[in-house]
């Protein structure tokens, strides 16, 4: 019974060995251990199921009904009419395209910037604490606050960006320039998280392999592309998957900066507006279920298509 044994096998190995020794009494011990385990997990599992699984099933049920809170008496079962209404509407498809464009652009930029940041943090042989504190500020700052800061910076009346670049542009009156500000805000806010996950993956790359390649005459560029990146692939995949799913839910930044004007609406914005602003629970729930389905598809593509192993390498949802 060493500490290492307990650590390596989440405790169950030693317990099993003990159970084996004690023979008959083991079954009742194992049973009571099982019961205690379930009891300790029950509160957390119950809360999670009640607040996620039940509502998503409820959303599925609502999505099959005509149910508008402004006309509650007109409620009735309509089958898949709501889905037909959403899927035959150009706004949904346009919003899906907007969301995918913003997601793809921000994740790609973040991956490149995150790599650069991770390298600086890795190589910062002085001031490591300074760098780490600095990059945690964007991670910790409220998204709404970040969105306002960037909006005010680009706004032609309050901002300094036009003065700095010598332009006279109203950034939020065109789609592409609104995209630029929205994506820049997202990238600023979430690159630190990406870079920390990449740094963690980078630390796992065995230095011996890198040094061996150096001895064999590989250039820094070759070492990066042939040794470091392939070995970091699991960490990169997980970081990209988490950020992709997170970016796909984009809501706060767009809500604050354009409210979906100039055709920058995301799927979360249309879901929110149908449900909460227009109080159409039936139609809004159909949008919710479709968003949920999109997230499942993205996760499926990453896990099955690219082989992202989530259980082994984990990020989290800030």
């Amino acid at each position: 019974m060493t500490a290492t044994a307990a650590r390596s096998s989440t405790g169950d190995g030693t317990e099993a060995a003990e159970a084996g020794r004690k023979g008959k009494r083991a079954t009742s011990r194992a049973r009571s251990e099982r019961r205690l385990g379930w009891m300790l997990c029950a509160p957390a599992v119950t809360v999670i199921l009640l607040v996620t699984a039940y509502p998503i099933l409820y959303a599925l049920w609502l999505s099959l009904q005509r149910y508008d809170l402004r006309f509650p008496d007109d409620r009735g079962f309509v089958g898949i009419d709501n889905y037909q209404a959403v899927l035959s509407n150009d706004v949904w498809w346009q919003d899906l395209v907007n969301t995918l464009v913003i997601t793809a652009a921000s994740v790609v930029v973040e991956l490149v910037l995150g790599f650069a940041l991770a390298f600086v943090m890795y190589r910062a042989f002085f001031g490591r604490a300074v760098v780490r504190s600095a990059i945690l500020v964007p991670y910790g700052i409220i998204t709404v606050v970040a969105a306002f800061a960037w909006r005010f910076a680009f706004d032609p009346t309050t901002g300094f960006v036009n003065g700095l670049t010598g332009t006279d542009r109203s950034w939020f009156t065109e789609q592409w320039s609104s995209y630029v500000v929205i994506i820049a805000t997202e990238v600023w806010k979430t690159t630190p998280f990406m870079s920390l996950l990449l740094l963690a993956g980078f630390m796992l790359v065995p230095q011996d392999a890198v040094n061996a390649a150096r001895v064999d005459g590989a250039s820094a560029w070759q070492r990066l592309w042939k040794i470091i990146i392939p070995l970091m692939k699991p960490a990169i995949l997980v970081a990209v998957l988490f950020r992709t799913l997170d970016a796909f839910r984009i809501f706060d930044t767009i809500y604050v900066q354009t409210r979906g004007a100039q055709n920058t609406e995301s799927v979360s914005i249309i879901g929110y507006q149908t449900l909460i602003s227009r109080l159409n629970l039936g139609l809004g729930s159909a949008v919710s279920v479709l968003i949920f389905a999109c997230v499942l598809v993205i996760a499926f593509v990453f896990v099955k298509g690219f082989g992202a192993n989530l259980a082994q390498q984990r990020g989290e949802n800030p």
Binding site: L36, G37, I142, V145, F148, A149, L197
Partner: protein, 277 residues
């Protein structure tokens, strides 16, 4: 490793400066905006010429911001406490006990981490209205707790796996009571992990906007991120830029303090699963 040359040092020092400027520029900008008096807001300059605290006194006079700050603090702290307690139970069981279903709990928790919150705001909105939880503290505490439980369970399990649990047996052999063994040996070892997950949960609850705007309607439970978007100027044409900036600065201060004091812990928490597997 080979000796570092001066040019190398300069290169990386430059990198550090760029990173710090990148991270802090928008924060300095919102601070400078909050210190600009009304007639300077639109002058397009980065720094205020004649800094004043007018915007700060304005937001404290308006009833909206103080109550939003109170709501934010109360809701985030209670959600943090509940999530960490529940996650500690679960993580302890997962690390220390043998029972069927724990792999399912861990993978289920991962799946929840990817869950899009917008998919459930409609049902929650409807449920909360009939349960009288709409526009209450608990109406927000419950979803915050739920959405942070998965990450708290993962972080805590990663930390708990590193604890040499048998130390507590050793302490008892040496004559400590079970409670003493827990208090003097196990609790100090478990505390850093619990503390780290508490910080991450708090940041999530402090940051949320979607639930806060969908599930509240008045100052009773509206938190700062939602309240800021409801700020109105003295007239319809007078957008309250300075006041939004001042409120932003106030709610950013706790985050900056936390990041400065606990940066090592936060990084360990964010990457715990990734590093330790």
């Amino acid at each position: 490793m080979n000796r570092r040359r001066t040019s190398d040092k300069v290169f990386w020092a430059g990198g550090i400066v760029i990173v710090v400027v990148y991270a802090l520029l928008p924060v300095v900008w919102i601070l400078s905006l909050s210190l600009k008096p009304t007639d300077e807001i639109t002058n397009g300059k980065f720094l205020p010429q004649d800094p004043s605290f007018d915007n700060f006194s304005a937001i404290w006079k308006d009833p909206q911001f103080p109550s939003a700050l109170r709501n934010s603090l109360g809701i985030a702290l209670i959600a943090t406490l509940l999530a960490v307690v529940l996650a500690t139970f679960a993580a302890y069981a997962i690390v220390r006990l043998d029972f069927p279903g724990k792999a399912l709990i861990m993978s289920g928790a991962l799946a929840i981490a990817m869950f899009p919150p917008v998919a459930i705001i409609g049902p929650l909105f409807n449920m909360w209205r009939s349960l009288h939880l709409f526009d209450t503290w608990f109406g927000l505490i419950i979803p915050y707790m739920t959405f942070t439980l998965p990450m708290a369970i993962w972080t805590l399990s990663a930390f708990f796996r590193e604890i040499p649990w048998d130390l507590d047996k050793a302490a008892r052999v040496d004559g400590a009571t079970p409670f003493q063994a827990f208090r003097k040996v196990i609790a100090p070892l478990a505390a850093p992990g619990m503390f780290t997950s508490a910080i991450l949960v708090f940041i999530f609850a402090w940051n949320d906007f979607l639930f806060a705007t969908a599930l509240t309607s008045t100052n009773r439970a509206r938190t700062v991120p939602a309240a800021i978007t409801f700020f109105t100027g003295s007239s319809q044409f007078d957008f309250p830029t300075g006041q939004i900036a001042a409120a932003s600065v106030v709610v950013t201060i706790p985050i900056i303090v936390m990041v400065l004091v606990f940066q090592r812990r936060i990084v360990a928490g964010l990457t715990s699963g990734a590093v330790k597997g």
